[in-house]
């Protein structure tokens, strides 16, 4: 290795690590520092307040509904796109990406147009006594919308890579479509799906824009953790805002760790 080669290698390393440290790690570290600056009590108090606990509960409800739905839909959609190339597949493929391309605020507004007082679906819904906006159903819809593509996008390439031979082999051995799916296809794509689930969960946990528009952000009623953070911040309750932020970060981190743990256990 020449001296200049070594220098440039070190230069690259410093630049790469510096970039990550400055832009990713510094803000995170600062939040943790600010949160616990005056001990554990202030952030803990904020989170365990009735509004804080309600926000946590609501956030977990969002995850509990949106993630399974998008997982099932995502796997089905990926199978459709890869295994059953039908007319319109290309269109579906493109439409799936919309939530990535459109600003979450716009997604929130579009839900308003559908379910709002002058919306398309409003007459039928109010007759049936169903409230979508400013209540949990609307927030769930928004969460599903913004997190829809992740499982599809992570599963499609894995499905393409494994091909159809293993599935055909299982069929010749007597397995029906259901058995092929559970015993061959799903185990083969599980890490793609798992990664999609982690990303979906992280997105639902952290979603602000779309949920903020449709929820009305009513404390103790339609406030998820990100909305709670904003409200605390606006009210100059910084320990509360930081405490809830750290909680959100820890929730997202734990899903990532859970996946890594499962994967390591399997590889061993």
């Amino acid at each position: 290795m020449t001296a200049s080669g070594t220098t440039s290698r070190w230069g690259l390393r410093v630049a790469g690590l510096g970039y990550i440290a400055l832009l990713l790690l510094a803000p995170l570290v600062l939040i943790f520092y600010k949160t616990f600056e005056h001990g554990l009590a202030p952030p803990l108090d904020a989170i365990t307040s009735p509004d804080g606990l309600h926000a946590l509960k609501l956030t977990l409800i969002m995850v509990a509904i949106a993630v399974p739905l998008n997982t099932v839909f995502g796997i089905g959609c990926a199978l459709l796109l890869v295994r059953h190339r039908i007319r319109g597949s290309a269109l579906v493929d493109a439409v799936i990406n919309l939530p990535f391309a459109i600003s979450p605020v716009v997604i929130g507004l579009s839900l308003f147009l559908l379910y709002g007082t002058t919306g398309w679906f409003e007459p039928g819904l109010s007759e049936a006594g169903i409230e979508i906006l400013f209540s949990v159903p609307g927030m769930v819809l928004a969460s599903i919308f913004v997190s829809l593509p992740f499982v599809v996008r992570e599963t499609v390439p894995v499905l393409q890579e494994i091909g159809t031979e293993q599935e055909q082999a299982a069929e010749t051995l007597g397995a029906n479509a259901w058995q092929v799916f559970w015993r061959i296809t799903l185990p083969s794509i599980r890490w793609g799906v798992a990664y999609g689930v982690v990303l979906t969960t992280a997105r639902v946990l952290g979603e602000f824009g779309a949920v903020s528009v449709v929820s009305g952000s009513i404390s103790g009623q339609t406030q998820t953790l990100p909305l709670f953070v904003e409200k605390q911040y606006e009210n100059f309750n910084l320990p509360g805002a930081f405490g809830a932020s750290v909680l959100l970060a820890l929730l997202a981190l734990s899903t990532l760790l859970a996946m890594n743990f499962l994967k390591r256990k399997e590889d061993a």
């Binding site: 031979e165 082999a169 299982a170 010749t172 051995l173």
Partner: protein
């Protein structure tokens, strides 16, 4: 269980993969479907298994029309070129898969799997994953997996295609022995004529979605039905309308009325066999297969003129070489109507 296919048609878009194919596979035989890529041989095999639906025609297994039967119910063992090993399962789980699907008792599955692993010489590797096996071991595992459910017929799609030459040769012999022990009707697809002749008792030569000829290796080699079969099952020289195997080319130093003049272009020694390449007066390139001693006797050298005399030639279009149709046709052999022609030496 005999297999027969009658009037099979199959197209993929504009591509006609099978064009009125009918074959007969006798019970207990080992048959090779031989042909170049795109000849329809794999499509035919997959149609027999039920992995492909025919546009028209029938597949009969043991006299029963199974054309409408789904793949799960056809009771065929299928082996894929790239093994199709279940990567997330151990060797044991792979081989036992079909039995587990059939809800057999655990003890029974275990006994059967170990019996099969003995048969394919993978004993002791039951707990490995496919990624920890060599290509040859994976293919033997796939074979054990297919045999576990006691299929009526065994179908192999280029089973040795992805293996290196040495392993290939071993597995060929091994498959032949296995078939002798098990007597299950077996069809295997290959594009390698040597492999087909080595392993199979009966060959079906396919080209462009049609069956060109079927029969034993000897029949195909000695009495090819057409030019395609003749050139596919062995080396061949073309002399006008006639086809001559290189080992049927006699090289002499003196001209007579049955010989063709040629210049020695290249002499290649391939061990015992010597390949002598000639260029004829009209520019045709042919080669003769000689033994080492023949070459020494003739004392051939590159660049010299020698004479070629076809001992045995075949013609498939019925024209006689004596009707003046071409200057480069050998003058000796007389032929009938597209039949084999032999000339006394």
């Amino acid at each position: 269980m005999g297999i027969s296919v009658e009037g099979a048609f199959k197209s993929f878009g504009d591509f006609q993969a099978l064009n009125d194919v009918s074959i007969e596979v006798p019970d207990g035989s080992l048959t090779a479907l031989l042909g170049p890529s795109g000849s329809g041989k794999s499509t035919l095999l997959r149609a027999i298994a039920g992995l492909e639906t025919l546009d028209a025609g029938q597949v009969l297994i043991d006299g029963e029309d199974v054309s409408k039967k789904p793949v799960q119910k056809r009771e065929v063992g299928f082996v894929f070129q790239h093994y199709a090993a279940f990567k997330h399962m151990t060797v044991f789980e792979n081989v036992g898969f079909g039995l587990k699907i059939r809800k057999q008792e655990k003890a029974k599955i275990s006994a059967r799997v170990h019996e099969l692993l003995d048969l394919v010489q993978l004993h002791g590797l039951a707990d490995r994953y496919p990624s920890q096996l060599s290509g040859g071991q994976r293919q033997r595992m796939a074979l054990a997996r297919a045999l576990a459910v006691e299929p009526q017929v065994l179908l192999l799609d280029e089973p040795f295609g992805a293996l290196d030459a040495k392993v290939r040769k071993d597995l060929r012999a091994w498959l032949r022995n296995l078939h002798e022990e098990m007597h299950v009707t077996t069809i295997f697809v290959t594009h390698d004529q040597e492999e087909a002749m080595d392993v199979a008792g009966q060959l079906v030569v396919m080209n462009e979605g049609r069956v060109e000829q079927s029969g034993s290796a000897d029949e195909l080699y000695e009495k090819p039905a057409n030019e395609f079969v003749m050139s596919f099952v062995g080396e061949v020289n073309r002399l006008g309308d006639h086809f001559v195997r290189p080992h049927d080319m006699e090289v002499v130093l003196d001209a007579d009325e049955r010989t063709e003049e040629g210049m020695v272009q290249r002499i290649v020694a391939l061990g015992f066999e010597i390949r002598v390449e000639f260029v004829l007066a009209d520019g045709t390139e042919v080669w003769a297969q000689l033994t080492r001693s023949e070459l020494q006797r003739l004392e051939l050298e590159e660049g010299q003129i020698a004479y070629l005399r076809p001992i045995q030639a075949k013609s498939f279009n019925g024209t006689s070489p004596d009707d003046g149709s071409g200057a480069s046709t050998p003058r000796g052999p007389q032929d009938g109507d597209g039949a084999e022609v032999s000339a006394a030496v």
